[in-house]
Amino acid sequence: MLVREITNFSSYWRSTTFSSTVEPTIYLLAFGFGFGALVSQVAGYDYVDFVGTGTVATAVLFASVFPSMFGTFVKYSFQHTYDAILAAPVDTEEIVTGEALWISIRAGTYGCVPLLVAICFGLDPRIDMLLVPAIAFVSGFGWAAFGIMIAGLLKSIDNFNYVTSTVITPTFLTAGTFFPLSELPEWAQVLGNFNPLYHTVELVRHAAFGWEPAADLLHLGALVLFGLVLWRLAIRALQRKLIT
């Protein structure tokens, strides 16, 4: 499955790379320098650095959930790619795993772009930042699996708009990317702990500004759990779609 994805990537890498890196970078520049002119520091960090590290999670989300949602649906409904693959000795679990792994590898790579941009604009580089691609990969795997699950559950590509509006947009706005969760009401802070993107933001920030071992183990555990649960749910959803 990975070979198939990598071979196909040669035909569309330009557009995917463009959309996956430019959009979060625009968020970073717009919020970092727009709000940054009004708010110099947040939670003890320069606002540009705060947003620069937070936008990594946005890049991971965009680079994983949209390609997996739309890509899976198109391959199933329009290109009949999975029919061809399932005629070979490959099962749904391998399809989902291959798709999610490849998308999360890409998310791990694209996720670093905002960080590099932030470094260009003054974020101090730190050796621990080398772990950011791994954090982005783990988070991207869960979001890729989420996208595959949605593609497996929904009957029409138009229904993806509901998911974008009710899940993805709130998730990305309440992950602590642009403002700290501590500014939200207490109930929203509690809910924030169930947002995998929040754990991604925290881990990336701690890689950039300094670890908090106990909290970071919990953040990592939450991301791993998110990935494992969504991986199994994605397999189940796609299995129901592909095997009748």
């Binding site: 499955m1 070979v3 198939r4 071979t7 196909n8 035909s11 569309y12 290109q79 009949h80 790619t81 029919d83 061809a84 693959i85 399932l86 005629a87 070979a88 000795p89 490959v90 099962d91 592909l242 095997i243 009748t244």
Partner: protein, 298 residues
């Protein structure tokens, strides 16, 4: 009796209230080509998908290459090739890249991959188009590439689901030659089709399906003799005349069928004195098909 590449016993598949396959029995002896013939909606494609475990039977037993399905489907699929009805090639990839991807999916070892691709390209006569993108290929070439893809791992069994549907007659004959060569080499083939001529030319044995069940099975020539006799008389004339002929022949115990512009009188041996004037011809599989399924042939 030769070993069976495919064996179905009492297979039933329902989609809600619709019974798509209704107690189907089907054998494909190793090294033979069996044609699955039936009108649209007869259950052919569902049957094909059950053989790759993309559709799971509600009841009955399915064995493919000695493996019980759906449990051992993955092992069986390693030795099967499938040519689907719908073109599902990766259109942005080249001919060779499409085949290379499937050498990986079929787990062909690194050392044998290049030779496997060359062989498949040669069989499908696509060696000189190896670098062409699928988008640039004609319909016939794309069909040949689908067959090459299904053959890249030297399967023992080939499933062809309507392999020539939508192709012009010249391309269809090219593909028939290719399928015939595979059969001659000993590859077991199950081919679903609703083209009578295709089944008659290529299949050692034909199973005619109607409403999800097998209504007749046997070598095409034997089926024709058993079900439609040796001779048919085709009577031409204005519609009113054709109605008269139909009524008279039915009363005389002769089976008839409409063929659009004529009435075909089937199994006319022994009725010479009662017959109206018409064109005599040998009975064929189309006569059997229409008699058994009640459907006109495309």
């Amino acid at each position: 009796m030769p070993a069976l590449a495919i064996s179905l016993r009492g297979v039933v598949k329902r989609f809600g209230a619709i019974v798509a396959v209704d107690g189907l029995d089907l054998d494909v002896p190793e090294g033979t080509c069996v044609g699955l013939l039936g009108p649209n909606g007869a259950g052919k494609s569902t049957t094909m998908k059950m053989l790759t475990a993309q559709v799971i039977a509600d009841s009955g037993e399915i064995e493919v290459l000695g493996r019980r399905l759906p449990g051992e489907s993955k092992i069986a699929r390693a030795e099967m090739g499938v040519v689907p009805q719908l073109d599902n090639l990766d259109t942005s990839l080249s001919v060779e890249q499409n085949l290379r991807v499937f050498t990986h999916l079929y787990r062909i070892g690194r050392a044998e991959r290049a030779a496997a691709i060359e062989r498949a390209l040669r069989i499908a006569r696509l060696s000189d188009r190896r670098t062409a993108k699928v988008d640039e290929l004609s319909g016939g070439m794309r069909r040949r590439l689908l067959i090459a893809r299904a053959l890249v791992h030297r399967p023992r069994l080939l499933l062809l689901d309507e392999p020539t549907v939508g192709l012009d007659p010249q391309v269809r004959q090219e593909l028939w030659a290719l399928i015939d060569a595979l059969r001659s080499e000993g590859t077991s083939i199950l081919m679903s089709t609703h083209y009578i001529e295709e089944a008659q030319r290529l299949a050692d044995s034909v199973t005619i399906m109607s409403a999800g069940a097998a209504v007749a099975t046997g070598p095409p020539a034997q089926l024709v003799v058993e079900r439609a006799g040796r001779e048919v008389v085709e009577v031409y004339g204005p519609p009113a005349r054709l109605v008269e002929v139909e009524q008279a022949m039915t009363c005389a115990g002769v089976r008839t069928r409409r063929t659009g512009t004529s009435v075909a009188l089937i199994g006319v041996e022994g009725h010479d004195g009662d017959l109206p004037d018409g064109v005599r011809r040998a009975a064929n599989l189309e006569d059997v098909f229409v008699l058994l399924t009640g459907e006109e042939v495309r």
